[in-house]
């Protein structure tokens, strides 16, 4: 086995500081309402934090590219899962009678 990459302490510290800063940023932006961008912003910050952890703490940056490929494949499958599920949930009720409001009205009907 070839040498294992040892990340320098300063790099690790810098990443740590970046992670804390991003956490603070998440807490701050949560106070401000920016409408539809609330969730995308939170996800973008969380995604960059995860990327930092994977690149430096898990040393993906210094590994063989094939490991990055496997990592990317995993991410791709999460994207596939979310996208295809959104094809359902975002268009739910396009048949006209299976929307959320139908369940509501059914419940109301039952109460009456």
């Amino acid at each position: 086995m070839k040498g294992h990459h040892i990340t320098s302490r300063t790099t690790l510290l810098k990443v740590f500081v970046a992670l804390v800063a991003l956490t603070a940023l998440t807490a701050l932006t949560a106070q401000i309402d920016i409408g539809v961008f609330n969730i995308p912003l939170a996800l973008a910050i969380a995604g960059s934090k995860a990327l930092l952890v994977a690149l430096f703490f898990m040393a993906l940056k210094y590994d063989k590219p094939v490991n990055a490929l496997f990592f990317a494949l995993g991410v791709l499958f999460v994207v596939v899962f979310l996208t295809f599920t959104l094809f359902d949930t975002a268009f739910r009720g396009d048949l006209g009678n299976v929307g959320k409001e139908t369940i509501h009205s059914m419940e109301e009907g039952a109460e009456e």
Binding site: V80, F81, F84, D88, T89, F91
Partner: protein, 569 residues
């Protein structure tokens, strides 16, 4: 690799020969239960999946017996629901998912690659025990509580039924980890442990199929874990995920579940494709037609299999947009499946075919899997599925794939590698009779279900209208014939184990490394020397030359064990 070669020079090879083969070199129970040898772990899997298969089979026979006549016979509606749930859960998680990778995959993968073992032998043993723990917990949940959700644990059933469903899903969670570990182990083994000269296009097709299966196991199984965990969170902490009363979405459960379970169907069938490729090549004495097409179609099926899960939800309230997309991709799966079937048939064309028991199973597979596949495309059609959803048609379809495909392939593989695993031959006439019984019984059981389903018989009912009586009775009689065939298999294999004729090193004239480079039963370390591979896996014309070369490599006192059985047609 070179290190291994050095360590295995002839004097040590001789020492290995004196130690005996992988069965005789150590005899204590501990040497089996805690063995790190992939072959012994394979046998442990074989015994456990056989027990699971027996249990699942008995549940199935009970379900069919209840359906012999209309009305409630000896199972109440509640116990009938439990019985088919147990049949499904034990068969899927205890038998069909681990059977081929756990048993034949473990036993054969390193032998096919020319390796001494899998990449992580300890992880291999750990995954067996995780699987065993999972199965044990499933059995405890069965005895302790009543689960009537079917094997899919759909919400709101699983959100409302008794608490033992949580116990059972935990068992499935644990068994899932066993599956992930096995997948990782096999992927690393294929990448890192191939013998010198064993290039990717010289891998036996069984290895390609196990490799594709492993990719699916690693990518899909974690989602099953997440699903089960979310179910736990909802039931215990009342966080709204699937329950509409808490603001959740019950169809979301089906998305989660099928994102795992549809690829899992390919975990079940892909290794079967690998076995059938080996059988058809060996018993036609032909190189595989379209080797790369078969190999890559396995990978294509593995990847496309991730994009079709919504076809289980056409009538569940899923949006029409997504139903159309899923239906379209479902049709695409027919392409790589068709490539395989046509290539197998082309391999047999002008081949020197011998109808030994394993080949009979391979031929059954071609017929039965094709029926399973085509009926699958039919339920993938949106308008047709509205009528067929939740009828016996669907039950017939997936049993054609799971029994007619995977189980038949497993039986074929079991008969083919039986001499290598046990060093003994079984009774060929009994083998052929059993194959016939299984084929006839299976068709009688499940073809009648296709007919019933298309006439509107719903699945999961313990009662039915009188006009279905005849078809239900045919189906039940079919299950008895199939049961008799499988019982016969168990008997003659057990007889063979103790009294069978001793097998030669290569009774079928196979050309993969386990036939040409090991004795009747492999050495504990598989090969005396790391093989140097200079050919593809199906060059049958070169077997005598290869065996002769191997004989020269083998220590002189082992030579008597290495011979080709001349009577191989």
């Amino acid at each position: 690799m070179t290190e291994d070669k050095d360590r295995n020079e002839t004097p040590q090879g001789q020492a290995a020969e004196e130690r005996g083969d992988y069965v005789t070199h150590a005899k204590s129970i501990g040497s089996w239960l805690f063995s790190l040898d992939h072959k012994r772990i394979g046998i442990l899997y074989a015994v456990t999946v056989a027990i699971a298969f027996l249990l699942g089979g008995v549940f199935a026979l009970l379900v069919r017996a209840e359906l012999l006549s209309p009305g409630e016979d000896f199972l109440s509606a509640q116990s009938y629901n439990q019985m088919f749930s147990l049949h499904g859960i034990v068969m899927v998680f205890g038998f069909i998912i681990p059977a081929i990778p756990g048993f034949l995959g473990n036993f054969l993968l390193p032998l096919h690659l020319g390796a001494k073992d899998v990449a992580f032998p300890r992880l291999n043993l750990a995954s067996y025990y995780l699987y065993l723990l999972g199965v044990a917990l499933i059995l405890v949940a069965m005895v302790a509580g009543s689960v009537d959700t079917g094997w899919t644990f759909y919400t709101p059933y699983s959100a409302r039924t008794g608490p033992s469903v949580l116990f059972l899903t935990m068992a499935v969670f644990i068994a899932g980890f066993a599956s992930i570990f096995t997948g990782i182990n096999f992927i690393v083994t294929v990448h890192k442990m191939r013998a010198p000269g064993m290039t990717w296009n010289r891998l036996p097709l069984f290895v390609w199929s196990i490799y594709s299966t492993s990719i699916v196991q690693v990518l899909a199984t974690p989602v099953l874990g997440i699903t089960v965990l979310l179910l736990f969170l909802e039931r215990l902490l009342h966080i709204g995920i699937f329950d509409p009363a808490l603001g959740g979405d019950p169809i979301l459960f089906q998305h989660f579940f099928w994102f795992y379970s549809h690829p899992a169907v390919y975990i079940m069938i892909l290794p079967g494709f690998g076995i059938v490729s080996e059988l058809i090549a060996t018993f036609s004495r032909q190189r595989i037609y379209g080797y790369m097409a078969i190999a890559l179609s396995s990978v294509a099926i593995a990847l496309l299999g991730f994009l079709v899960w919504g076809h289980h939800m056409f009538v569940a309230g899923q949006s029409v947009v997504s139903s159309v997309i899923f239906s379209l991709i479902t049709y695409l799966i027919g392409i790589p499946s068709g490539i395989k079937v046509f290539n197998w048939i082309a391999t047999m064309y002008k081949g020197s075919i011998s109808f030994k028991t394993p080949m009979l199973y391979a031929l059954s597979f071609l017929v039965l899997f094709t029926i399973g596949g085509v009926t699958g495309i039919m339920v993938g059609v949106l308008a047709v599925d509205v009528h067929l959803h939740d009828t016996y048609y669907v039950v017939g379809h997936f049993h054609y794939v799971m029994v007619g495909g995977t189980t038949i392939a497993l039986l074929g593989g079991l008969h083919y590698w039986w001499p290598k695993i046990t060093g003994r031959l079984y009774n060929e006439a009994a083998g052929r009779l059993a194959a016939l019984l299984v084929f006839v019984g299976l068709n009688l059981t499940f073809f009648t279900q296709l007919v019933m389903g298309s006439r509107g018989m719903p699945r999961r009912y313990n009662d039915y209208l009188p006009e279905f009586t005849f078809l239900h009775q045919l189906s039940t009689v079919g299950s008895w014939i199939m049961g008799a065939g499988l019982f016969l298999v168990a008997i003659y294999l057990l007889v063979s184990l103790f009294r069978g004729k001793k097998a030669g090193a290569n009774p079928w004239g196979g050309a993969t490394l386990e036939w040409t480079h090991t004795g009747p039963r492999p050495d504990p370390h598989n090969f005396h020397r790391t093989p140097f591979v200079t050919r593809g896996p199906y060059e049958f014309d070169r077997i005598p030359e290869l065996v002769a070369a191997h004989r020269d490599e083998t220590p002189p006192d082992a030579q008597q064990n290495v011979h080709l059985n001349q009577d191989r047609t």
